[in-house]
Amino acid sequence: MANYSHLVGHRFPGGRFTLSPHLAWLWADCAMADPDPEVAHPTLSYFSAMQGCGVSIQEIFDLMGADADSGAMFGECVLEYNGALSPGETYEVEGAIIAVERKQGRRAGVFDRMTFQISGRREHDREPLFTVTNSFVFPRREEATT
């Protein structure tokens, strides 16, 4: 049985991410919110975290041994702020996997729940401006039959 608990503590490469105004505009449009040139839509912390952490969603799936069409799902998201993000700002981003748990649900069957946390701070700040904690769910249908 494949076990992914060794991934706990795995650090993402991290990096710098500039929240380009046009990307902030497009995100707000997807959110059906009014784009604001001065204050970013708050869920852009999720976007900035995912863009700046240095790994793609596909690479996260790869770490967990899952294909894009394996039924992996977003389980939970927590966004924390020490202020508002702004279009045009650059953030130093870092993150790591903080938990991998195998669970069994009545309907979902066997699945792995992987949680990672990413934070971003303005270039000259010491404290993060935002912290994003995501849990993804990876079905392990093959484990139910072994």
């Binding site: 009014d34 939970e76 998201c77």
Partner: protein, 143 residues
């Protein structure tokens, strides 16, 4: 269906029901934009033919971050984007292209010492809850 992002958190009280945010018909084209923005390879968001083949029906499935953003809009309209201190959500079900989503929020607590309000959030497709969440906002509207 737009939201004023810099409204102040004025006059929130325990038990207040916040103005709902309603999307009458989830737009498949915006899912394609989001897939590109996130570099999200999951075809369930844009490849309807594949969804048919794998038994997901004939509609694309909305990305979690889009539905989450609808729910955030309730908070932003009530308190302003600068006031949001914490937001959490659990994804309970899929939202399909063309579906009507209604997001609601209720103020559950006020902490005068901390200067914050707690909001309980839900997103519904018909009677089906697709998201559940909470938010903490600064009563002064944030910095």
């Amino acid at each position: 269906m737009s939201v004023e992002q810099q409204a102040g958190a004025i006059g929130l009280g325990v038990g207040d029901e916040l103005p709902p945010f309603v999307v009458e018909s989830v737009d498949a084209q915006r899912m394609k934009t989001m897939a590109a923005l996130l570099d999200d390879p999951n075809p369930i968001h844009f490849d309807v033919e594949l969804n048919k083949r794998i038994g997901y029906g004939d509609k694309p499935i909305n990305q979690g971050p889009i539905t989450m953003s609808y729910m955030m809009n309730v908070v932003v309209a009530a308190a302003g984007a600068r006031a949001v201190r914490r937001f959490s959500c659990r994804f309970l079900g899929n939202v399909l292209g063309g579906e009507r989503v209604e997001c609601r929020g209720t103020v559950t607590a006020i902490d005068r010492d901390a200067g914050t309000a707690e909001i309980e959030l839900t997103a519904l497709v018909g009677d089906r809850q697709v998201l559940a969440g909470t938010a903490t906002v600064a009563l002064g509207g944030g910095n």
